[in-house]
């Protein structure tokens, strides 16, 4: 998906109360209360989960939100990276695709 299309997939993230995020040296643990599964993740996954907690966003909206809170690398294709991470998080059950009516 190019991400510039108007129908870019939007995702609903778990509420902050439904996940526990614990940094552990170079990685971060994410405990998902609803599934009881522990995920071991790296940057920028914890940042994504915190920025999206309880909200619905697509990759472009997420990129804009992260840009407000973090210094982003101008040269990196932030949008493509976030699209991939969102797909991975959806496969883990930490975010859920929201299909437009």
């Amino acid at each position: 998906m190019t991400g510039l299309l108007p129908f870019e997939t939007r995702y609903r993230a778990e509420k902050a109360a439904d996940i526990i995020i614990r940094p552990l040296d170079v990685m971060t643990l994410v405990y998902h209360r609803r599934s009881g599964i522990t995920h071991i993740v790296a940057q920028p996954v914890p940042e994504i989960l915190l920025a999206m907690a309880g909200k619905v966003m697509n990759a472009a909206e997420l990129a804009a939100k992260l840009a407000q809170e973090y210094d982003m690398d101008d040269n990196a294709d932030v949008h493509a990276v976030l699209s991939e991470r969102l797909e991975e998080l959806a496969s883990l059950g930490l975010v859920e695709p929201v299909h437009a009516p």
Binding site: L24, V26, L29, R33, G36
Partner: protein, 285 residues
């Protein structure tokens, strides 16, 4: 069942039923100094594979509250091993009061050293040797971590010695009591050793985990630092009930990893292992 034996090991109370007298007689002898609880957490049954097999080439099937459907039966002269395997299985699959780590443990000054590793890493022998060297033996198979306090709870079952460790402990602890030598078990030669008297009389005394070791036998002596992420991953693999405990398991294990220093150690002899453990204990615990 025809023959029955009850025993409490640390916080867990067992009832062992058997079609044969011999395994129960051996357990009564080895567990003579252990308390008997007035309740039962788990039942283990040693049963004849078929009614005739109680007499003809007797073969012991391990059954109980929790079972592995494809566990192979053992010959009757390994009935004691069958009972021990059955007790381990109940703990591994059924225990929920503490986080279980597949690890041995020893205590000194109210603090515990926890040693974890795969079968053959030497954790069992190491804990038995520490038990002869001024430490209180807490357990050679399971370290139980309390989800509320983070304390290590003793589980000092019979020490299961395998192959070369049998002779090593016979000479290190000549006065200790040993069970029958069982040849050709699924894990080679096995002989049980009764833990030191203090390990049994103080089995309800908990200790604060202060050092975590990942021993590895058969390599030149070395110490390696480990990141918290690696330790966490290896401990989830070493725990039989981490997933079953849910959020309580996550909370207790992350706190354990954050608070307890961890090192991997390689060694080629028991003396080397004890020296490395003592050195790290002095530096870190």
């Amino acid at each position: 069942m025809r023959h029955e034996f009850r025993v409490r090991v640390g916080p867990a109370a067992f009832r062992i039923g058997s079609d044969w007298a011999a395994p129960v007689r051996q357990m009564r002898d080895l567990y003579a100094d252990y308390p008997i609880a007035d309740f039962t957490d788990f039942t283990v049954r040693l049963e004849a594979v078929s009614p005739l097999r109680r007499f003809i080439r007797p073969s012991v099937a391990i059954n109980g509250d929790y079972m592995l459907p494809d566990a192979a039966p053992l010959p009757l002269d390994q009935g004691l091993l069958a009972a021990e395997m059955g007790m381990n299985l109940q703990m591994a699959l059924g225990w929920r009061r503490q986080l279980i780590l597949h690890a041995s443990a020893a205590e000194r000054g109210g603090k515990a050293m926890i040693m974890t590793g795969a079968s053959g890493s030497g954790k069992s022998t190491l804990s038995a040797m520490l038990g002869q060297a001024g430490w209180r033996f807490m357990g050679d198979e399971f370290a139980l971590i309390d989800p509320v306090t983070g304390d290590a709870v003793p589980y000092p079952r019979m020490i299961s010695l395998k192959n070369q460790a049998i002779a090593a402990m016979r000479s290190a602890a000549p006065d200790a009591r040993f069970g029958p030598l069982m040849h050709d078990t699924p894990k080679g030669d096995i002989r049980h050793m009764v833990p030191p008297e203090e390990a049994i009389s103080r089995m309800d005394e908990r200790a604060k985990p202060a050092l975590l070791l990942f021993p590895r036998f058969g390599y030149a002596p070395a110490v390696r630092e480990m990141g918290a992420g690696e330790v966490f991953m290896r401990l989830t693999q070493a725990s039989t009930n981490y997933v079953a405990l849910g959020e309580a398991g996550f909370t207790v294990l992350t706190r354990f990893v954050e608070q307890v220093p961890a090192r991997a150690i390689d060694y080629q002899s028991g003396e080397e292992a004890i020296a490395l453990a003592e050195q790290l204990w002095a530096e870190l615990a």
